[in-house]
Symmetry: C2
């Protein structure tokens, strides 16, 4: 769709980094200052809901989401992983895969909830450094699927 | 786990209604006054992350989540469906499947974001009436899987 930001596939460097692209999906490492390691798995074509996809397409997309979760757990060692497909603002299927920590800015709320605490800059910086390993780890995890 | 509310499988009538239970998962119609039709798909055993499950278990759980999404779309006719596995408060796998409307209390934010608008009681009541059809529709959608 002409006015859908996820159809355009434009990604400014300050928004994030494309780390993998296949025929059907792509994976972005999101540049979220509060949540280092936040990844997004995006269906390339404009489809709004998971149940608009065929069963095979759903399985393919979820296998990528879980490959990203594997990599996120391995690299970021979070206390919890959050996975969500919302799309209220951009109704084009995309999955958020977010490493969460008990000391992160929104814990135990969602990443869209109000802030609950301040996070030490040194803690965030350590996590940002870890996240540099994610592109390679995500690509390796996806490579095992095919 | 002894202190996990989702392991206990206790459900007070004011919290919601068990609408389907299998060996591995169960489905709850959540009693959320703001979000009629909100369903939850819960893995019966205590597991924290999707990637703690085997590939077959993940596929089974997701096929139930998407069957619930089918039923929610058919019965509730929402503007968007939100699907999420967070578990920051209760790290026992459960998927939220939430029908969302442009005029609901949190739109276009997440169901865990701050309120954005007031919803007319008549609109909510119409949706609550529709949600009475969900238990049957969810069971019928799940029946097609097996």
């Amino acid at each position: 769709m002409t006015n859908c930001v996820l159809c355009k596939e434009e990604l400014k460097p300050e928004e994030g980094q494309l780390i993998w692209r296949g025929d059907d999906c792509r994976v972005i490492l999101v540049n979220d200052p509060d949540l280092p390691g936040f990844c997004r798995v995006i269906w390339n074509h404009h489809v709004a809901e998971m149940t608009d996809l065929s069963h095979g397409e759903r399985e393919h997309l979820m296998s990528l989401v879980f490959a990203v979760e594997e990599a996120v757990r391995h690299v970021m060692c979070p206390d919890k992983v959050n996975i969500a497909a919302l799309g209220n603002m951009v109704p084009h299927i995309h999955w958020h895969v977010i490493p969460r920590y008990q000391d992160d800015a929104f814990f135990p709320g969602s990443a869209w909830s109000k802030r609950t605490q301040e996070v030490k800059e040194a803690v965030l910086e350590t996590r940002r450094q870890k996240a540099l390993e994610l592109p390679g780890a995500v690509r390796a995890a996806i490579a095992t699927l095919f």
